[in-house]
């Protein structure tokens, strides 16, 4: 589904990703861990196609297409979803309007008709309930005045509505209390399917006890320096990142 080969990318003059390779097959859950400044968030934005994140070499193949050739919005329509670490507040644009515009854009791309407003309202309310957000949030400005946890649950709701094939979740667990973490984890687990893959970017092992990954990778200095299964996350929790960076060096 996703194949990243020797990816190098810079933000401004600074090279952040320095030859990153990663293969994700349908249905797999990959966790990417690593110290601060290792390039975790950059990877998410490069995949999503953020302006100013410049790829200097390497390739990214997504469902057999060259992801790097696509505009940001095309990538979303092709089934890539980035859950933001810091979701953006947009006052004046209602969450409902935002969600519908977004869902319609993706549907149009898939050759489907725009969804009927009444039907969509019903669907959005259902998803609100699933992520434990009051339906009042649909009327408010996008993320406007939402708490950290509410923003993350709003991200999850968007993910549920857009039904992407690849979900990249950038530190979705940061700033969440245990209850909210459980809600997010339940939501993700409910979305797991043989066709849908996840990349979970996280600092902490904690999330991975709720969402069990198939693979754990350590990102450091812009490259994946070690990969393993779940036990690697537990080892990292215990020993920190120091030993790996030394081992690799």
């Amino acid at each position: 589904m996703l194949s990243i080969k020797d990816l190098r990318a810079k933000v401004g003059e600074k090279e952040i990703l320095k030859g990153l390779s990663l293969d994700v097959k349908p249905g797999e859950v990959h966790a990417i861990m690593g110290p601060n400044g290792s390039g975790k968030s950059t990877l998410g934005h490069v995949l999503a196609g953020r302006e100013g994140y410049e790829v200097s070499s390497g390739s990214v193949d997504f469902h057999g297409k060259n992801l790097l050739d696509m505009e940001c919005e095309e990538r979303a329509r092709e089934g890539l979803f980035l859950a933001f670490q810091y979701p953006v507040e947009i006052p004046g644009v209602s969450n409902m309007e935002f969600l519908k515009t977004s869902v319609d854009a993706v549907r149009e791309h898939r050759g489907l008709e725009a969804i009927d407003s009444v039907q969509f309202m019903k669907l959005a309310r259902e998803k609100c309930k699933a992520v434990n957000l009051d339906a009042q949030f649909l009327k408010r400005g996008v993320n406007e005045g939402f708490s950290g946890g509410e923003k993350k649950r709003n991200e999850l709701m968007q993910m549920m509505l857009l039904e992407p094939s690849l979900c990249v979740m950038d530190e979705t667990d940061s700033g969440l209390d245990i209850d909210a973490l459980q809600v997010v984890a339940d939501g993700v687990n409910a979305m797991r399917s043989p066709e849908r893959s996840f990349i979970l970017v996280t600092h902490y092992q904690r999330l991975l006890t709720y969402i069990q990954p198939d693979y754990v990778h350590v990102l450091s200095g812009g490259r994946i320096i070690k990969s393993g299964d779940r036990s690697l996350a537990l080892e990292l929790e215990e020993k920190g990142y120091g030993w790996i960076t030394q081992e690799v060096a």
Binding site: E51, E73, A76, L82, P87, G92, T101, L162
Partner: protein
């Protein structure tokens, strides 16, 4: 000297009302002695009157048949006491004649002797015609207007809706519009001023003046909506006197036209008065919208809350000059002024100047102006959800304005304006899309 400045005062009202003679005369005199604004006139520095000088507006309109006004655009669901004027002439067919208790709406041309007295007691006393040239011209040209009077303690549920429609005629012309509002002690009212036009290319110049007197503890919710077709020329003023504990809340909007200038002056004359003004301007194409506001805090313990937002697109231009003047006696004033602008094209222009002049030492005041482009982070966020760039730009632009629309207290007005603003952005989106396809 141009034809307009030279001869405007000589254009007499079509039919005189003798009881307005003195006012007509005073207006002509003030017009004649006041230099016509040029680029060197501070208050007109960024606004050229060239389009006014270029057209031949020194003529009154021909009588208009109602049939020419196809489907007058009214605000549905407003449930108001309605007065409609077409090219300055009252339309009985489109207006309502029933007023609730406590309200009277009198046209100057119909005023009886008592009403004339009541009108003359206030008319021309609120706007300073020495410093507002076009207010002087309004006096000079005055023969028709509306006097809205709300009796003490009356709380009006129904808004008063004054709708000016302009149509295109074979020859260009001028229209003089005048409104006097007097809300007596502890009374409450809403007045909606709506300026619209038929869809044809307009060739008229409207000179409008509104004077408002709020007595002690009176409350007025006021709207001034400039939704004319883009070739309309409009110069206008709103001048307000606030007595003790009076509250004036106004919402002003201009969609933009060739020349659109509004002078807003609010005088805090009694302690405890409050003034809230929210404004939106959306010039595009080659429009020019100019808001000059001036809030005079003359006495202690008054408050002002003023917010203007604008989006300027294409080769449009906006001018915003917001002045708050705290006189030496006006201790404990709380005043804030904010002006935010979005420029959506390289050729768009905004000249903004928030001015705070403070001569009292115990006050709380703030002011600020920003000029920005759309937030890249928010655009990225929308795009990352599959929304294309241009659509995202439209959504953000609309959101920026919608923040103020959401605060409009009357649902009918809000529901009327929101799709119009939205359509304006969508139209732009379609133009860009066509441009891309071509």
């Amino acid at each position: 000297m141009t034809a307009f400045s030279q001869h405007a005062a000589a254009l007499q009202p079509e039919t005189r009302l003798t009881w307005l003679d003195a006012l007509n005369q005073r207006g002509r005199e003030h017009w004649k002695v006041t230099p016509f604004p040029t680029r060197k006139t501070e208050n007109w520095k960024y606004t050229s009157l060239q389009s006014l000088e270029n057209g031949e507006y020194l003529r009154w309109p021909q009588p208009t048949q109602l049939a020419e006004v196809t489907q007058p655009e009214i605000i549905p669901g407003l449930d108001a006491c309605t007065l409609v004027f077409i090219n300055g002439v009252y339309s009985e067919e489109l207006s309502s004649e029933q007023w609730p208790e406590g309200l009277s709406c009198v046209r100057f041309s119909e005023a009886n002797a008592d009403q004339q007295q009541a009108i003359l007691a206030k008319l021309g006393t609120i706007a300073e015609t020495e410093s507002h040239l076009f207010a002087a011209l309004n006096d000079a040209w005055l023969r028709e207007g509306v006097f809205v009077h709300v009796a003490a303690n009356a709380v009006l549920k129904q808004p008063v809706y004054i709708h000016h429609i302009s149509t295109a005629q074979a020859q260009s012309f001028s229209v003089n519009q005048r409104l006097l509002i007097h809300v007596e002690t502890s009374a409450e009212a809403t007045v909606v001023e709506h300026y619209s036009s038929s869809a044809d290319v307009q060739n008229s110049f409207a000179n409008a003046l509104t004077e408002v007197q709020l007595d002690a503890n009176a409350r007025l919710t006021h709207y001034q909506l400039h939704l004319e077709e883009e070739h309309a020329l409009h110069i206008g003023g709103v001048h307000v006197n606030l007595d003790r504990d009076a509250t004036f809340n106004s919402f002003m909007m201009s969609l933009g036209s060739i020349l659109q200038r509004s002078d807003v002056v609010v005088n805090h004359r009694g302690e405890g008065a409050h003034c809230g003004i929210q404004g939106i301007y959306l010039p595009h194409n080659k429009h020019l919208v100019d808001f000059h506001t001036s809030i005079e805090h003359r006495v202690p313990n008054c408050t002002t809350h003023e917010v203007f937002r604008g989006i300027i697109g294409d080769s449009g231009k906006a001018v915003f000059n917001g002045r708050i003047h705290i006189h030496p006696d006006a201790q404990k004033t709380v005043a804030d002024l904010s002006n935010k602008n979005l420029l959506t094209s390289h050729d768009a222009e905004i000249d903004t100047k928030p001015e705070l002049e403070i001569y009292a030492d115990d006050v709380k005041c703030s002011h600020g102006a920003t000029i920005a482009q759309l937030d890249e982070k928010a655009l990225y966020y929308l795009q990352s959800r599959g929304v294309d760039r241009q659509r995202a730009e439209i959504m953000l632009s609309f959101g920026f304005i919608n923040e103020l629309l959401e605060q409009i207290p009357h649902t009918a007005v809000r529901d009327y304006l929101t799709p119009r603003v939205s359509a304006l952005f969508v139209k732009k989106f379609d133009r860009q899309r066509e441009g891309r396809a071509a």
